[in-house]
């Protein structure tokens, strides 16, 4: 008898930077379920709740299946050629009138490397501008900026396997069990097997509750805390003198700076008692191998870059880097944010972090791409929206991002997008951002395309198509290639994803030794992978740092840009929930995940709740200087008194109507982790 | 018991407001069944595309297949129901439940019913059965406030047929205040003697208080029954949501003898 078309496709889970292996069960052309993969080196047979529900995210019922053109405020289906023509005419007119810098592109950190590569190539060759960015801005650009200054490379220095090799795990400003569950789970298991656990977080996260020591510091006091720890380390002689001598520079300046952070002062600023500071400093410096991981509780501040530098200082003076089981390990949000950065979907760098305005790089890419490389500095995504409001930026393509929901200060973004002459959104479903587009182009989802993702440990892994895209939908690189041709550029006509990869590998030294065949062999390769390291690199900076010596850079504590005052007496911080991801457009399609947190919520400490007569479920109005939202209360002592928290996944209660646009001066990273709000109870009818 | 997961067509034929966020509904089955509905049983309603939820019968379906239910607006499905016009086609499954109000066992006893808020409708079929039997029966009905009371017409009729005390958390004027348990002596007096059996339905904390109080009073857990609410997705003991210890509320309940309830709470 003929056999049914049931198969299992081995691919990579699309929900976070951990990069778990996932088997998609396919029956008659639809994904009906998932299976974990026991032999995958990262996930080892585990998945998180989002991975387990992926079959729902791939449900085609709400997918955009044809190009859509907005007419009189409504979308109507259109053919590809009609939609393309509209874009081409508009972009050409804008370019003619205002020059190439009035155009730009936002790539997607969820898309494949191939897509991201195509996106930045499209911007730099076809549009003729470095106006190319993606959402790393709102999660980890400070990591890249900070660690490039101190170490020379912004990526996770070690590998996920090092969790099991460490004696001490230090988790700063994140809860991997919520946002990177499989990695967080491996931390729990390591602790069960005897590894010590130290958590630094204003919230009592799950890991904080399990930890051997939890430093519950005040919001926005990371630098003071770290300087304080280094101060204690120096005064006890716990630093690694040989390591500092041989591999670091600028130690004197750091010594001088941290001298200004004696334990007592630090305890005052951070709210962490001196004895705990002491214990933490000892644990960190005296353990044989300390693996440090951090997340957005470090980066999403106006001091984001300095926070990262402070962490780097701590790691360097104790020599907890460059060996197995140690290192500085930023936990990245979206599945391919590492890849999007590697691919140069950033205004300032080409693929492989080659400077966009550097003459040699320009020459290299100009020759390879057969085009003039633009000379003018590119804009970040926030730069593009600001310029749009100033009338200097008119045309934009957004690939699979939903800045209206995920960016800080929603009103600002919305006004900026509405001010554009031509907004093209390449999307799976009708997001809030897509609603304001002039043209929507239907994109293929991860299960519908071949390509690669790069996870947080720099592992480049194969993504494999399991099902065909619905309707007319296409892969990003195909769409951009077709548009490029119509706009007069021939250099983006690839026959398949592998051809894109081969081109990008050739131009990206970090990826040079990789090919689809080699990636097949051992569940991917970790960069740098080239002639010198053909099997990839598990550990960065072992002999020396990418930049040579590790640079110690003194940094000072600064208050968040907006502090509570009498008008807005509470701190608001934004969080993520385990169940959802980004703006929730994928995960909210699962009836189970949707049930778990039915609509937006605000977390508040019982003391604050009592003062305001708030109970679980009370409807609240939360307002800041920028806007207000209504949502329901969850009372929990997982937060310190005086601080409230909101997840940012829900369009019904977008926390980003409230958050501050104040930015990190280096990376323009907005301060999503702290702003001042007030809360009122809404009387219900 | 109907084991199908597929609903039958039913029409919404009448509705009127009856208490805060609450409405009195009459439904009509497209194909009346001869199946008898027992006091305590429940059914489910399906609203096209909004899911399914369980409700108790206020009256059993008559020969034309008409029956009533009192429904409070609480979630997505009930909000949609409140927007639904009379005449609309809905889906129905039922009857469900084998844990019933023990009419046979208690009909010769002096019976007290204790209801809290929206817990009154599930007791209605028991009240009617006991009254029809001529049993000695009284009701204490506790609500948050006047607006929170439901089943106005029914209560007016019951008022004529049995002793009834209404009490409020937020009493105003000459309303009685306090919890139902505060008025035991009064109802005993009106009934002309100590009650011998208690049926209760309302918030779980209230039912637990009732259970404990009568256990103390009688030094026995025998003659106390309560009706439980649980999240339900099937009604036939398959979906697993309504577990209580080793039992399923949909099939073993929704009415439990207090003793059994305590046992199930403790088995785990």
């Amino acid at each position: 008898m003929s056999n049914p078309s049931k198969k299992v496709i081995n691919t990579i889970c699309p929900y976070c930077g951990v990069g778990c292996g996932i088997g998609l069960q396919v029956s008659d052309g639809t994904v009906t379920g998932v299976e974990p993969l026991p032999q995958h080196p990262v996930s080892q047979g585990m998945l998180c709740v989002k991975g387990w529900s992926s079959a729902f995210a791939l449900d085609p019922y709400d997918r955009i299946k044809t190009p859509l053109i907005k007419e009189n405020g409504h979308f109507r289906p259109a053919s590809w050629s009609e939609a393309y023509q509209l874009i081409v005419d508009s972009f050409q007119a804008i370019k003619q009138e205002h020059g190439p810098n009035a155009l730009g592109l936002i790539a997607c950190a969820r898309a494949t490397n191939e897509d991201c590569y195509a996106a930045q190539k499209f911007a730099r060759t076809v549009l003729g501008t470095h106006n190319i960015d993606h959402c790393a801005r709102i999660c980890h650009s400070p990591s890249v900026a900070g660690l490039r200054q101190t170490l020379g490379s912004g990526a996770m220095t070690n590998s996920i396997d090092d969790i099991e090799k460490a004696d001490l795990l230090v988790i700063f400003g994140c809860d991997p069990t919520e946002n990177h569950s499989v990695l967080g789970g491996r931390m729990i298991q390591a602790q069960q097997a005897g590894t010590k656990l130290l958590v630094v977080d204003p919230r009592k996260t799950r890991l904080a509750k399990l930890a051997d020591l939890h430093l519950q510091l005040n919001l926005g006091t990371n630098i003071a805390l770290i300087n304080g720890l280094i101060n204690i380390i120096f005064s006890n002689g716990w630093e690694d003198k040989t390591f500092i001598e041989e591999r670091c520079e600028n130690i004197d300046a750091l010594r001088k700076k941290v001298a200004g952070y004696p334990p007592k002062r630090v305890a005052e600023i951070t709210g962490v008692p001196v004895d705990q500071l002491h214990a933490a400093a000892k644990m960190y410096s005296q353990s044989e191998r300390t693996f440090l991981a951090y997340g957005m509780g470090i980066t999403q501040y106006t001091s984001g870059t300095n926070n990262v530098i402070a962490i780097s200082n701590l790691t360097l003076v104790t020599g907890q880097i460059g060996r197995e089981g140690t290192g500085i390990n930023p936990l990245r949000g979206q599945n391919n944010v590492q890849g999007a950065c590697d691919m140069g979907a950033l205004p300032n760098v080409f693929p492989g972090y080659q400077e966009a305005l550097d003459a040699t790089s320009q020459e290299k890419f100009g020759t390879a791409w057969k085009c003039e490389i633009p000379q003018q500095k590119g804009l970040t995504s926030l730069g593009m929206t600001s310029e749009a409001l100033n009338g200097r930026f008119q045309g934009m393509i957004i690939m699979g991002e939903d800045p209206v929901v995920t960016d800080p200060d929603q009103n600002h973004v919305l006004r900026a997008l509405e001010a554009l002459d031509m907004l093209v959104v390449v999307e799976l479903v009708m997001t809030e951002t897509a609603k304001v587009a002039d043209v929507i182009l239907p994109a293929a989802a991860f299960a519908e395309k071949d390509g690669t993702f790069t996870n947080c440990e720099r592992r480049v892994q194969r993504v494999r198509a399991a099902i065909p895209p619905p309707g007319d939908a296409k892969t990003d690189w195909q769409i951009l290639g077709e548009l490029a041709k119509l706009l007069g550029y021939d250099g983006m006509q690839w026959p398949n994803a592998e051809a894109v990869f081969d081109e990008l590998a050739q131009l990206t030294p970090l990826y040079q030794g990789m090919s689809y065949d080699k990636l097949e062999l051992d569940n991917g390769l970790q960069w740098p992978c080239n002639d010198a390291t053909p099997d990839g690199t598990k550990l960065l900076h072992s002999g020396q740092f990418s930049r040579g010596k590790g640079r110690l850079i003194p940094v000072d504590h600064t208050d968040p840009a907006e502090m509570p005052d009498s008008d807005y007496p509470l701190y608001l911080t934004t969080t993520r929930l385990h169940y959802h991801y980004g703006c929730g457009s994928m995960t909210r399609k699962s009836p189970l995940l949707e049930r778990e947190t039915p609509s937006g919520v605000l977390f508040i400490h019982p003391d604050d709740a009592r003062k305001l007569s708030i109970q679980a479920g009370t409807l609240l109005r939360i307002s800041s200087r920028r806007g207000e939202v209504e949502t329901r209360a969850v009372v929990t002592d997982d937060l310190p008194p005086g601080t409230v928290a909101m997840p940012y996944h829900f369009k019904e209660a977008p926390s980003n109507l409230l958050t501050n646009t104040a930015q990190d001066p280096v990376t323009k990273m907005p301060e999503l982790k702290a702003c001042a709000v007030k809360i009122e109870v809404v009387t219900e009818q | 018991m109907n084991l199908s997961m597929t609903p039958q067509p039913i029409h919404l034929v009448d509705q009127y407001d009856d208490g805060d966020h609450s409405r009195h509904y009459t439904f009509q089955l497209a194909q009346p069944t001869s199946e008898q509905i027992q006091p305590g049983q429940f059914f489910t309603l399906t609203l096209a595309g909004f899911g399914e939820a369980a409700f108790t019968y206020l009256t059993a379906p008559d020969e034309q297949g008409r029956f009533q239910a009192l429904i409070r607006r609480a979630g997505v499905l009930t909000s949609q129901l409140f927007k639904t016009e009379t005449g609309t086609l809905l889906g129905y499954r039922g009857p469900f439940g084998s844990g019933l109000w023990p009419i046979e066992e208690i009909k010769e006893k002096r019976v007290l019913l204790i209801a809290g808020g929206i817990g009154l409708p599930p007791l209605a079929t028991a009240i009617e059965a006991l009254l029809a039997n001529g049993s000695d029966v009284g009701l204490i009905y506790g609500s948050r406030d006047y607006a929170g009371q439901v089943l106005k017409q029914e209560r007016e009729r019951w008022q004529q047929q049995m002793p009834m005390i209404e009490t409020f958390d937020q009493a105003v004027g000459d309303q009685l205040s306090g919890t139902p348990l505060d008025h035991l002596d009064a109802i005993n007096q009106q009934l002309g003697g100590e009650v011998e059996a208690v049926l209760t339905c309302g918030p779980e904390v209230m039912m637990q208080a009732v259970g404990r109080s009568f256990t103390d009073r009688w030094q026995s857990t025998d003659n106390i029954w309560l009706a439980l609410e649980r999240r339900m997705h099937c009604g036939i003991g398959l979906c697993g949501h309504c577990y209580l210890g080793s039992s399923y509320v949909c099939t073993d309940g929704p009415v439990y003898r207090w003793r059994e309830f305590l046992k199930q709470q403790k088995v785990m």
């Binding site: 008898m1 056999n3 049914p4 078309s5 049931k6 198969k7 299992v8 081995n10 088997g23 069960q25 974990p36 993969l37 026991p38 032999q39 047979g45 585990m46 387990w52 079959a55 569950s181 967080g184 789970g185 491996r186 729990i188 298991q189 069960q192 799950r206 399990l210 494999r464 097949e520 569940n523 385990h578 009836p591 189970l592 049930r595 778990e596 | 084991l3 199908s4 997961m5 609903p7 039958q8 067509p9 096209a48 595309g49 609480a74 979630g75 009930t78 889906g91 649980r230 999240r231 997705h233 398959l238 979906c239 697993g240 949501h241 309504c242 577990y243 080793s246 403790k266 088995v267 785990m268």
Partner: protein, 341 residues
């Protein structure tokens, strides 16, 4: 029933394949893990004496799929949508998984969707001659040899040949026309003996026995459950992979066309989810993670269910141990229950 001598698995396989779709655990490109997949070519070589590996995802989904259409509504009527399943063979089931199917057969005995799938399915089981990693079937009476009545056909390796035991009407009918010779008379007795020997090869698993005892004596405090519950990341992996887990939820999806047409599906649910029992009012009888974890293990190991099912809910496959990111799968949790009181 009579038993037969089978000299080649290939013959049996091809014979069944004439009128059935064949499924077997197999690996896929890019990985060596086993998955239940259509088997176009014939039996893989793993059977017999080689070390047993269980596919991490059990065959549960063939009978109780992750998502199942229940009915559709065309605006006027509700139309039940029973699955139409062509005759199929699940070839290569181990005893533990067969016990799980027998358990599900009991549980879903009146569920028309399950029955529609089950009736079309022939189960071919193999005796395991060596323990698998993490398995403890012998401790929970689920293996290592296939239990009577749990399979349609039982295969037991005998050197290069096989003892084939038809264990149901359906099984017997399926092989009738093969005209196999009877098996040597002493093979059945030898099989009994060997089962006892293989069972001895398993670890003692004292932690499992102690854990079961403690669960049934209810001597585990709420605090201890709560401590363990902290490690549950509510991934739903244990319930998805556990071959005896059966909870589901229902949900509606509007269909294109008429405004109120829709379909209702059911999909696997997990008792570990916070909102599994949460009611519309917000009341939640199992609000704490510890309570939910306790529920899971109660359901797997409580004597209360033995009356109905004739066995515990756990069949000893160890899948939850392998997939639990929080380190509280069956071995870990039972060890903690043994160690911490």
């Amino acid at each position: 029933m009579k038993s037969y001598l089978l000299d080649s698995l290939e013959n049996l396989f091809q014979h069944l394949a004439v009128s059935h779709k064949m499924f077997e655990p197999q690996s896929i490109p890019g990985s060596e893990d086993l998955h239940w997949l259509p088997s176009p070519k014939g039996p893989t070589s793993r059977y017999g004496t080689s070390k047993q590996v269980l596919p991490l995802a059990p065959a549960k989904g063939f009978l109780f799929p992750e998502r199942e259409l229940l009915f559709r509504f065309d605006g006027q009527t509700f139309i039940e949508t029973l699955p139409e399943v062509a005759p199929q063979v699940l070839f290569g089931l181990q005893s533990c998984d067969l016990c799980a199917i027998a358990y599900q057969d009991q549980f879903f005995r009146q569920d028309s969707y399950y029955l529609a799938r089950r009736k079309a399915t022939i189960l071919v089981g193999f005796d395991c001659l060596t323990p698998c990693d993490g398995g403890f079937c012998s401790t929970v009476d689920a293996g290592p040899f296939v239990r009577d009545g749990s399979a349609d056909l039982i295969l037991h390796p005998k050197g290069n040949e096989w003892l084939l035991i038809p264990a149901s009407e359906q099984g017997l009918n399926a092989i009738q026309t093969l005209n196999l010779p009877p098996a040597p008379a002493e093979w059945r007795a030898e099989r009994e003996q060997q089962q006892a020997e293989v069972a001895k090869m398993f670890p003692t698993d004292s932690h499992i026995r102690t854990g079961i005892e403690r669960i049934n004596q209810a001597t585990i405090s709420a605090e201890q459950w709560q401590r363990l519950g902290l490690q549950c990341l509510t991934c739903s992996g244990c319930t998805s992979l556990c071959p005896t887990c059966s909870c589901f939820t229902t949900f509606d999806t509007k269909t294109e066309g008429e405004s109120n047409t829709f379909v209702r599906e059911r999909c696997w649910d997990s008792c570990l989810y916070e909102a599994f029992q949460r009611e519309t009012s917000g009341h939640n009888p199992s609000k704490e993670a510890g309570e939910r974890l306790q529920r899971y293990w109660f359901h797997k190991f409580s004597d209360h269910y033995v009356d109905e099912f004739g066995r515990y809910g756990c069949i000893g496959c160890g899948r939850c141990e392998e997939t639990c990111p929080g380190g509280i799968g069956v071995h870990s949790i039972m060890r903690r229950l043994e160690k911490e009181s």
